[in-house]
Point group: D2
Chain length 137, copies 4
């Protein structure tokens, strides 16, 4: 998805002091994590009757994570009058939520491939948000 790069490059505003590469990686990681979480919640729900109940916490957390990663990808994409207080709050929340969802999915990763893939995307989202946070002045 190089659309994110194309859009950042064609933005008339000045991204400085934000790092364009870190921004693009954060947006893409959040979108991929959100998508994996929506799909994992639904895949969990489709498991056999005697398996679904053990996945309740996973279905809940993947929904929360999908909602926040979607909101984060949007906020990070908006460069007009970037408010670092808001950006910092968004990224910190996303690091926490991605981490919590990753931990839950990792406990099911051995049995369910959708949880394994989702956990990886959550860890990637957590890292990309932390990396962008680290570049903020």
């Amino acid at each position: 998805m190089t659309t994110t790069d194309d859009m950042l490059r064609s933005h008339p505003g000045d991204l400085a002091p934000l790092d364009e590469g870190a921004l693009a990686r954060c947006v893409e990681a959040c979108l991929a994590c959100a998508q994996a979480c929506v799909a994992c919640a639904d895949a969990c729900l489709s498991e056999p009757d005697d398996v679904v109940p053990a996945l309740r916490a996973c279905i809940r957390l993947t929904q929360d994570c999908a909602d926040f990663c979607t909101a984060a990808a949007r906020a990070v994409s908006r460069q007009t009058g970037a408010d670092h207080t808001v950006l910092r709050a968004v990224l910190r929340a996303c690091v926490t939520i991605c981490g919590a969802c990753a931990r839950e999915c990792e406990t099911h990763a051995g049995r369910h491939d959708h949880c394994r893939v989702c956990a990886e995307q959550c860890r990637a989202g957590e890292k990309a948000c932390q990396d962008l946070l680290d570049t903020l002045p």
Copy 2:
């Protein structure tokens, strides 16, 4: 909107140690704030040609705030396996974002009634999230 109360009351899970009233007020305040922010961004955009440019930061922040308040209302509504680490991160981010959006809208409140109403809803969202945060063990 007593639907929030009805839904919390009919939830089969145990809300304790969360306070049902604080939860319902937080959900409702986040939804009202998100709605005001969507409408305010659009109203700002409809102001006369020579006014819109001064409202750029407002249009940006109201969009961010709408996205996070929507995500927060959803996460706070989900009671299955409530994870206080996630809930705390969500509420803290919302307090910061609502506060930032309120400050921006307040600077335009004297001239634009949509900013005055939106600022009030942002302050109400900020307070309701902080109040729920204060009840968390």
Copy 3:
């Protein structure tokens, strides 16, 4: 939630030929339906182990309905350069999705109060979208 009315009244654009009352009712009904659907999906997931599997279709549809009603409330709230082709498409989709979700929730309404309340909100959302659709020229 009179915030919707306040925001419509303070919008600098001209709402004509749209009916302000029908617009406000549609926004409020979509928001209430979205909120009920998020809460119902989560309440279904919290039912006993032997009950959850029968609620799979309900959990799925309430999530779809929550997502579309949220998007519809936002699009209907935006009055800048209102495009009736888009508004019509949004409202038609919402009528169909609210109706499908209502039918599913109604089959569980006798046993689960959250499904009963949610079904009522879906029917109200369906009606408010159809009513606004009927006022479009």
Copy 4:
């Protein structure tokens, strides 16, 4: 973004009669379109003072399109108890909204590269939704 393919492959449900490739392309096109639309709305808002007013309709439509493509990507990703009535309504709405947004962005594509890229993504979203619609029985 092969995450979508990975997640569809690991879903315990049966996708038939839906075409897995068409599904994955639709999800990815909707996500890319939503992301381009969020970024285009913000880039439009960052244009010089005398340019922004001419982009009002574009800022409005890109926000509507972002919201519906995000909701569509989520609904199409959910395979549990797939309801073709809902899927059809979602895809039809998305075709209309992506098309309307593409037409608007195309009128600015010669002057603004962000509108050119966004228009391309909207056309890709429109096509992917129509292609999936054509495979529905």
